[in-house]
């Protein structure tokens, strides 16, 4: 049952997680650990912090996220991630689509009770 539940969550996350990552970068840029820590508060959405990094790699190649290095007083330089204009557009599109989608799913599930 746990394995089936994990498999289901994996599928559900696939369409959504990258937009949540974009949302976490909407107001401000962040470095990897910082972003992972922000997302780790949402355990159902983001169970494994390491899965953030392949996602960020793809979003960089997609042109939704760009990176820059900044020196750190506490050690080696940090790689910061921030949204590109295309990333903001993608996030806006998702945000507009999500609410009616979520409402429909909730309604269908509620009506089937």
């Amino acid at each position: 049952m746990a394995a089936e539940s994990d498999a289901l969550l994996t599928q559900l996350r696939k369409g959504v997680l990258e937009y949540c990552v974009l949302a976490c970068l909407r107001k401000d840029r962040a470095y990897g650990l910082e972003l992972a820590t922000r997302l780790s508060r949402y355990q159902v959405l983001f169970a494994s912090e390491g899965t953030l990094y392949p996602l960020l790699s793809r979003m960089r190649r997609q042109g939704w996220v760009e990176t820059s290095w900044q020196e750190s007083t506490s050690g080696p330089p940090r790689r910061y991630y921030e949204l590109t204009p295309q990333g903001r557009t993608a996030l806006d599109l998702f945000t507009r689509a999500w609410e009616p989608f979520r409402q429909d799913v909730d309604t269908v599930l509620e009506e089937s009770r």
Binding site: S48, T51, Y53, S57, M59, P76, A90, L93
Partner: protein, 191 residues
């Protein structure tokens, strides 16, 4: 300011080696980006001399290397970001942009058939028929496409008009037998 890097904790070294093995079949760039980013994550989270307990906790939060490897793009595949349907150019393989070529051909053929109707209706029939078949096939494969539907309407109309005109010409052609004119008898010249 630069100091020699602290020796890696053995659990960290083992985790990174496992992760590298788990990513062996991954897209090369994603593999390198992921490994670099995870190393950086560990450096930031643990500092120079972490305890085994701290390392264990941070590695548990990172998650199993197999779970991470399960989310990477396999080598040889174009990375896909989900829900990119709203921005078609983001999905692979890329779909051809611009008008559907077959529908354009059907539309042009339909227009040509309509022109032929005015000149040689009988010839317009096969042209319109071919145009109509192509247009109907495009509608069935691409679904609701204004271009494909326009081709159907134009070629269908051409075919109908050509058929009707040809039938009309055939039926009036039967009545057009030259009828003999009135017989004139010229009086013989008497002289």
């Amino acid at each position: 300011m630069s100091r020699p890097p602290a020796p890696e904790h053995p659990l960290v070294a083992a985790y990174l080696a496992d992760l590298e093995r788990a990513l062996v079949a991954a897209d090369p760039r994603e593999r390198e980006d992921t490994l670099d980013a995870v190393r950086e994550h560990l450096r930031e989270a643990l500092g120079p001399a972490p305890s085994t307990a701290d390392v264990t906790e941070v590695l548990a939060d990172l998650g199993s290397v197999d779970v991470i490897a399960g989310t990477v793009t396999p080598a040889g595949h174009t990375p896909v970001v989900a829900l990119a349907a709203a921005q078609e150019t983001l999905t692979a393989p890329a779909r051809p942009a611009g008008p559907d070529a077959a529908s354009v051909v059907a539309l042009v053929a339909g227009a040509f058939a309509l022109l032929l109707v005015l000149l040689v209706p009988v010839l317009a029939i096969p042209v319109a028929l071919v145009a109509l078949v192509v247009a109907v096939l495009r509608v069935r494969s691409v679904g609701s496409s204004a271009l494909a539907w326009s081709a159907v309407v134009l070629s269908g109309t051409s075919l109908l008009v050509a058929a009707l005109l040809s039938l009309a010409m055939l039926s009036t052609g039967g009545d057009d037998e030259p009828s003999p004119g009135p017989v004139h008898s010229e009086p013989l010249d008497q002289g």
